[in-house]
Symmetry: none
Subunit: 214 residues, 4 copies
DNA sequence: AATGAATGAGCCTTCATTCAT
DNA sequence: AATGAATGAAGGCTCATTCAT
């Protein structure tokens, strides 16, 4: 059943354990030895599956971007309903939260691994921003949003920055209920960001949604 | 003429060299040995003036916040003129740029030094956000801006996040002319963020200012 | 054939090299770098087997106490013969000699690692003193020694102190023949300490033994 | 009024502060910087009065020995009264306590400063042991003690070792009442050591004294 | 595939001591 | 006499990575 693209189970386990530890303790604090120890595997095993620590981070980054892209694609499919949009927004925030070490560590990682920076520019500013722009454009077509190209281009940029800003201000761990609160706050913040560009005609349903996050 | 609050020259030199190296190479990459080596001083000298690396960062952080606070205070004094406001905004961005390693490293430093996080919350979310809120409130009084309290509160938050997001996306070094470009881009981005809350009456002068950053 | 309690060969080598260097040069003088250098291994290897220098000392201390306990247990088995007793005493002194850095360094280590002090109190004042007390009690039962409980309790204490006092006055290295001399002197000293409590009936054999150490 | 042998006030202060810190925190832990800091003087001043740290320790050691010698001399003067003897013993223990860092650190210092070891042998084994031997000899003349030369020679040695053993087992700090207890315990221990050599004729007064330390 | 011992450059920091003033 | 900034060798320890098995 092993398709060509399929990664070994161990590969996946290492990714999972690394993500968990990076999120909780910080990538800078967690060593490859920590990861192996936590998983009860040898460091050798870890280095059999990954050339180095950077490769783990890189893999996690790709999954992060992939998840973001999927959320945005899903949102595109339901771009007619404000409800669906906000649902996608929530999911996106949860996804960011589950990779929260990345927005926190990325900028300082650029110094260490300049390749990551280029990669990131390409993916985040490129692919993701592109998708988000597409989404906003679609919403404008449907007359949910309004605004000229420049305005929407900046909205895209601001939207991403506020998303990132949101996670970086959160603490490293949270109980499920704390997370609910955080996600709510994040959504509200993003809604306020978008609000000025909501078409007056769609204002009532938009405000109804906003009310849920007050 | 040595005032009480005055620090030794060496102290200042270490701060300067550290800031330069941190900005260029990244705080994570630069060790206390690097700093001493670059300055052609002994490590002992460095540790005579600072208990440890964290203390250097902490001192830089305090100067960063102090500078931000000063810019905001200056902006408050000239809050009647849109021109002056934007001038302050530019200065603020330049100031952030000159401490750019901080917004980039802060989130990953929280993992290492949780005390910094608390301190930061207090100063950045507290003092600086407070001053910014004051500024926006003043502008609303003068009918330059409009919006309810909640809107302006979120504007404050977004404004800070976009400022931070701005620097973190920049590369580590830049020629003077590159810097000019970056600052312009940053200002424009912030102006777009504020734009929806500009009172229609002040739209013409605002647009004129915006035009300069196009 | 590897039993569960068995430590790696390297572990043992490090212990051996450390003991040798500590005895010869002093624990305070010998750094972990010295140990690694002397063994022609990397510092990393040393720290792979021991968390820190204290752990090496702690391991040595445990072996020291274990050896002491074994000597005392052996002595208890042959407690009927004065000859055997003195043989055990000699062995004990040789054992102390082979860990001589410990009695010399222990008091100054308490300042650095207070945990060691508690541990030591428990083991030395507790376990070892207990065994020694048992031994003296047995000898009293057999009417080799005499004295009330308090006297014997103090004898235990004095015996330990004189043993310790003995090593601390010796120089750090000695030729085999010098060592013989030292051990003889130590035994004689201890015999003199015990002498007042020897039952007159056992005086002749006791004096015969003493004569060998004159 | 400054006699040739008189040391400056600062010299004395440094000695006092060092003794206090060494006793409380351990010579190994206390740096020359600590001493200067505690005294609110510059390190330069400290090094003006002492060539190095060792010289401070050496000076303290000399005072320690001098004090011991004085106690013994005083005891010699009153060697006819058991009461006076025990009083001297108490004083001696208090004196040792006030220099307690020395017996604790001496053996490990020998490794660092072999000169100290020679010095110590000469003074402690030589001068002090000589005086103590003299005292015991006197007491034998007065028929307070009994025992042949060898026995008394060993008693001297044991006496010194138990004194030293006594301090090294104590904790570093103590309240006045704790100190009283410790001194009592120490005296009792020493009395038990001497007891076998007390002339039966002097047993009753001796036992009376002992009773006070029970 | 996996082990896990080993590497070693390098990190942060200390501290006895010096020396220009 | 005194200051206090400066020295710099050295100390304990880490950690990404390698490699023989």
């Amino acid at each position: 059943m092993s398709k060509s693209g399929e990664r070994s189970q161990t590969f996946q386990h290492i990714i999972d354990a690394s993500l968990q530890l990076f999120n909780q303790e910080g990538e800078r604090v967690i060593t490859t030895n920590h990861i192996a120890e936590r998983m009860n595997i040898s460091t050798g095993k870890l280095y059999y599956h990954f050339r180095n620590k950077e490769e783990i981070i890189s893999e996690l980054y790709q999954r992060y971007v992939k998840g973001m892209a999927e959320q945005l694609s899903a949102a595109l499919k339901h771009s007619n309903s404000i409800e669906a949009m906000v649902g996608a927004m929530e999911k996106t925030l949860r996804h960011i939260w589950s990779f929260r070490f990345l927005p926190k560590s990325m900028p300082s990682l650029y110094y260490l691994h300049p390749e990551l920076a280029e990669n990131h520019q390409q993916l985040s500013r490129g692919q993701l921003a592109g998708k988000l722009a597409q989404l906003f454009a679609r919403l404008r077509e449907q007359e949910v949003l309004q605004g000229d190209d420049k305005q929407l281009a900046h909205l895209v940029q601001h939207f991403q920055m506020v998303q990132t800003g949101w996670v970086t201000t959160l603490k490293h761990s949270a109980t499920p209920s704390e997370l609910e609160r955080m996600v709510k706050d994040g959504c509200r913040s993003l809604l306020y960001l978008v609000a000025p560009y909501v078409n007056p005609r769609y204002r009532p349903p938009f405000d109804r949604v906003c009310a849920r996050y007050a």
